[in-house]
Structures are given as C-alpha cells and as structure tokens.
C-alpha cells in the first residue's frame, strides 16, 4: 500500500487529523518504541495488551488440556494417557482456566483498556500498581505452571483436603502460585475501585457511568473481599503439607468440610468474578448495536451490585451432600436463588433493549445472541442444581460440569470473544473481517453445543465428573462431546487467526466504527497515551441515542 493510498484511507475512515498541523501526539501504540517502552510502561492500554497476550496464551493452554482430556474420554478405558496423567491434566485444565484465564480475563484486558477511557480519565489511579499487577500475575502464572509441569498436581482445582494434604503431587508450589495470582487480581481491583471513585471526568456522575464500569466495580468488590479467604485457606492446605498442622485433618480432630466452607466462600463469588465482567460487556454490546439505551439503566447497574452482594450468600449449595446440616442446606438453597433473580433482571433488560431498536447484526451482536441463550440456560440450571433434592443426584456429575461450562464458556468466553471483536477497532485501529467473524461465531456456538449438551445428559445418566474411565454405556455421548470439543477448538483457532490477520491487513477503522455513543469511542481512532488531548467534559449519558451522533469531541482545536 502506498503512503498516499493509506492517507486517503485514513481520510475515508474519518481519521482526519493525521496530517493536520500541529501534529497531534502519537497514538499509544507508537508512543515510545522498543521493548523497554512496553515492559516498563505505565500506560493502562499497553498493560492491557500485555495482559491480553498472556491471557490468550493461557486460554490456548487450557484449551489444549481440555482437548487432551476429551480425547482421553473417547473410549471407556485408556485412550492416550494413564490415570495419574489424566488426573493431573484435569487439574491443570481447571487451574489454568479458572485462576490464570477466567478470573483475570475480561477485567485485566478489556477492563484495563477501556475503563479509564470510559471514565474520561488519563490513566488508572495507580499506574505503577497496575504494571506491578501484571508482573505479579506473570510471576504467579510462572510458578503455577512450573509446579504443574515439574511435579504436577492431581487434586482438581478445588484442592479438597484430606486428599490435597495427603497426595504426593506438588500441591504446595501450585497453591503459592495461585496465591500470587490472587494478589495480582486484588491489585487490579483496588485500582478499578479507586479509579471509579476519583478519576471520573467532569460532569460524569455515578449514573452516567457506562454499565461496563458498574460491572467492573462490582467485580472488584468481590475480588477484594473474597480472595483473601481463598488465599488463607489454600495457605492452610500448603502449611498442612509442610508442617502437618492438620487443621482440616480428621486424624488431628479437624474437619475437612470446614475447608469446603472456606473454599466456596471464595469460589462461589468467584463465579461472579468471572461472569459479571461478561455481563458488563454484553450490556455495552446490546446498547451499541441496537442504538438504544438499555431499557433500564438502573436495573442493570444495581443488579450488578446486587450480584456482588448476594453472591456471597450462596456458597453452601456446593455442599448439599458433603455432610452439611439440613438447616444450612435450606438456607443456602434459598439464598442462592436471589442471584438468579438479579441475573434474570439483566437478561430481561437486555432482551427488552432490542425492542424497537435499530439492530445491526455484527459479530459482537451474534455473540450477544449466543450469550443470551447459553447464559439463560446455564443460569437456570444453576438454580436447578441449587434445588436440594435434585442436587443429590446431580452433584459432582457431568451435569454440574455442563452447567458451569455453560456459564463460563457459554457466558464468559462468549462475552470475551464479543468484547475482543467489539473493542478491536479501538485497541488496534483496524477492522476484522466481518464475514469471517460471523462464520467463526456460528461455529463457536455449535461447537459449544455439541460439547456440552451431551454432558448434561451424561450427568443425568449418572456419569461422575473427574472420571478417567467410565462404564461403556456412557460412551457415545462422550464421543459426541469430544467431537464438539474439536469443533469448538477449531472455531476458536479460526477466531484468533481472523483477529491476528486483521491486525495487519484489516481495514482502518476510524474512531467510531460502530456509531456507539459510549465514551470510549470519543477518543481518536487509536487513543493517545493519556487517552484524551484535553480532559473531556461529559454532558450526556453513555447511551443517549436520542441525541445525534457527534464527532469525537476531544479535539476541539482540530475541528
């Protein structure tokens, strides 16, 4: 492409300021060159991209583990690996996906990138803390993965004692690694909350915050209040291995069920750490692509906080058959439903937002559609498994596996992919191939269905999870599921290729390719280092689609 034609394309794409004197500051991708300018940057956007790269690698890694697991399950007995390897593999899959991918996924990448821009801020409140959180995350990831490669862990990601305190695999370093990753996510969370409180642009009151910010805020609250508990509980497991404290060990009078209480006090809210950011993304997508404000801003914003608050109340529904008291089973079963009510409010609001809108059917919107179905079904099966008598049959079977994969893959990864397409132009200034995007999105959906719907049926039929070998009558459903997993993996790979190609060959996007009224689209095509040339003054809400579309209002002198 010649310089001239690129210039013309810039003009067509609306990037009118490229050659207007005085030269505007370079965009964040070009503001500082060399590897040092990336590794030592305090720019939230660059940190977000570094997170993005590592997190996608983690997703790929977790996905490879999943494929190996599914391949093993093709036949009732040994297919490609032995039982100890299989047990290490599903632990690897769980730990990688939950702690290394899912929990930091949307907050650390898209949250880091767009949250300050959405607030009209120049950066996060503590940019160096933000950079530190990246390196702490890298350290934790490194320790975890090294330990898993070195000795392997075969406890499952739940680390239930007394198995975790008696197994010979290297639990301790993995626990340390997870602890470090937890510290990283707490750093990010502190940053987000403080930023939301102190760095809102002039004119932006709390009810002009984009809904994604509300979701990130609620997520951060959960991270901060829940993570210390898991840190300490896993620390106790580690200490038990090193020093035989026996705090959860029946041989010393301890009660292993108490660990489950502590574990799920974190890990149940952790589900909302994973899904709330996804909900935030979905809220943005719906509004942008239907060119309407959400049918109730308050409902979505407040239900985010509600989920964060009530999410702490339901942990015990993981323990109905663990020897917990019937009284607690009743309490937890009832409290669990409230989260579903808040989620349902969101689902209704998103659906109602489409009504009488002007719906553009882009790839992110397609992901929204998949999300709508998968999340609703996954969420309602969540209340189903919180129904005590049914959970007795379903607990620790593939039904549960299918349920939480509907939430985590069908919910979070779908939203992650939606966000990856939606904010791609803002991050890199280019557009991905829409046709390929739609195609990969459809394949992701069908790959997903083929993978996980059979698992619901397997669970009904009684196949327990974490089974290396299984009775032969479960085989054909497992084969379907494995086939679906390969389809899903292929679709994800294509998605990645599509986005990577767009990095180089994608059309120039311009500052606001979707015609969104979100604040992050009011920057230049690729934002500059401190996001805005002049601090923005907010005079309208982020979803005021009754107002005419405006030019990026951050370049008054250029206009």
């Amino acid at each position: 492409m010649t310089e001239q034609s690129r210039h013309r394309e810039d003009i067509e794409a609306g990037d009118l300021f490229a050659d207007v004197p005085p030269p505007p500051p370079p965009d964040y991708l070009r503001d500082g060159r060399g590897i040092r300018s990336w590794l030592l940057t305090t720019d939230h956007k660059r940190i977000a991209l570094m997170f993005y790269a590592v997190i996608v690698a983690m997703l790929a890694l977790g996905g490879i583990f999943a494929l190996l697991l599914r391949t093993e399950l093709l036949t009732p007995d040994q297919t490609i690996m032995t039982a100890p390897v299989y047990n290490r593999m599903f632990t690897l899959h769980g730990v990688t996906m939950v702690f290394l991918f899912m929990i930091p996924s949307i907050p650390a990448t898209f949250g880091n990138f767009v949250l300050p821009i959405m607030l009209g801020a120049k950066d996060l409140a503590f940019p160096r803390l933000n950079l530190a959180s990246f390196y702490v995350y890298l350290l934790g990831t490194g320790v975890t993965l090294a330990a898993m490669v070195w000795g392997g862990v075969d406890t499952g990601w739940t680390f239930y004692p007394p198995y975790s305190t008696s197994t010979e695999s290297s639990v301790f370093p993995v626990v340390v690694g997870i602890f470090i990753v937890g510290v990283s996510s707490m750093m990010t969370a502190i940053n987000f909350i403080v930023t939301t409180h102190t760095l809102r642009a002039k004119g932006m009151n709390w009810f002009r915050l984009p809904l994604f910010v509300w979701a990130m805020y609620a997520t951060s609250v959960i991270i901060l209040l829940a993570t210390p508990v898991i840190g300490l509980s896993l620390g106790l497991v580690g200490a038990d291995r090193l020093y035989h404290f026996g705090i959860f060990d029946a041989r010393f009078g301890g009660d292993p069920v108490l660990f489950q209480h502590l574990f799920w006090f974190y890990s149940h809210p952790a589900v909302y750490i994973m899904i709330l950011p996804a909900m935030g993304v979905i809220s943005e997508l719906v509004s942008t692509f239907s060119r309407k404000p959400p049918s109730s801003y308050d409902a979505i914003a407040m239900s985010s906080l509600g989920i964060a608050f009530v999410g702490f109340f339901g942990w015990g529904h993981h323990m109905f058959v663990a020897g917990m008291s019937e009284l607690d089973a009743g309490i937890f079963g009832g409290l669990s439903m409230f989260v579903a009510i808040f989620s349902a409010i969101k689902v209704f609001t998103w659906t109602a937002t489409l009504y009488r809108g002007r719906v553009a059917f882009n790839t992110p919107m397609l992901y929204f559609f998949w999300f709508l179905f998968l999340f609703t079904f996954g969420g309602m099966t969540g209340v189903a498994v919180a129904t005590q008598s049914l959970d007795v049959h379903w607990h620790d079977t593939y039904f549960v596996v299918a349920h939480f994969h509907f939430i985590m893959v069908g919910g979070t990864i779908t939203a992650f992919l939606g966000a990856a397409h939606y904010w791609f132009p803002k991050m890199f200034g280019r557009l991905y191939s829409e046709r390929m995007g739609l195609l990969t999105s459809v394949s992701v959906f069908f790959g997903f269905l083929f993978t996980f719907v059979p698992q619901f049926l397997l669970g009904n039929a009684g196949m327990p999870r974490r089974y290396y070998s299984y009775p032969a009558r479960f085989q054909w459903l497992n084969v379907v599921s494995t086939g679906g997993a390969y389809l899903l993996a292929g679709a994800l790979l294509l998605t990645l290729i599509n986005l990577l190609c767009a990095l180089k060959w994608g059309r120039r996007a311009g500052p606001n390719p979707w015609g969104s009224h979100g604040y992050e689209w009011m920057t230049r095509a690729i934002p500059i280092k401190h996001n805005f040339e002049t601090p923005p003054v907010i005079t309208r809400g982020p979803y005021d689609y009754h107002l005419p579309e405006e030019m990026p209002h951050v370049d008054p002198q250029a206009r």
């Binding site: 029946a250 010393f252 108490l258 209480h261 502590l262 702490f312 008291s325 009284l327 607690d328 309490i331």
Partner: protein
Amino acid sequence: MTTTTHHRWTHYLAVWLALVGLTALSFLLSLTHLGAIDTVFSLVIAAAKSTVVLLFFMHLVEERFSVAVVPALAVGYVLLLVALMVTDVLSRHTYPKTPLLFGEDGVTLPDPAGEPADRF
C-alpha cells in the same frame, strides 16, 4: 475530606484512656467466671474498642461515606462467613459431632466394619 479538623492532643489521651478502661473492664469480667456469657461480654467490649479505634485513631469519623462503608462491608462479610459456618457445625446431624481420632495404632476408632484400622 475534612482532614483539616484538628483535635487537641488531649483528645487522643481521652480515647486512649477509654480503651485502657475497656480493656481493664474486659479483664476484670473474665476473672468473675460468668460462664458461657463471658464470651459475649468480651466480644461486645472488643467491638466497642475497635469501633473507638476506627472512629478516632483512624479518623473514620472524618472520612467520606465511600470510605466508611468499606470496613463496614468487610465486617459484615466476616460475620456472614462465621455465622453460616457455625450454623452448619451446630446443626448438622452427622455423628459424632466432633471428629473421631485415628490413632497411631488405629485403636481409638470404633470400627464398624471390623477391619484393622489403617496405621497411617
């Protein structure tokens, strides 16, 4: 932010005296052998003391709502965790209520299955 509020040093002395007094009270109560209720008393006193520290030493009384709500939320969740966990322990119908001990030679475990208990 009203950090400009400036107390006299006697203000802190008074707070300190109050804390010392409450500590002494708690100590003396513990000597009177009140029975099970003494935990309640001592925890109420501890809550009062920590409230005093929070409000005056940590100047929570001068802070904005957004700051003051943070420790309140944390304390709320601590109570939630403790309460629901203890409810389980107190109300479960497994037996015995306290775990059986696996002795070194496996003798302390009543052995329903009549198997020699594991020695490790």
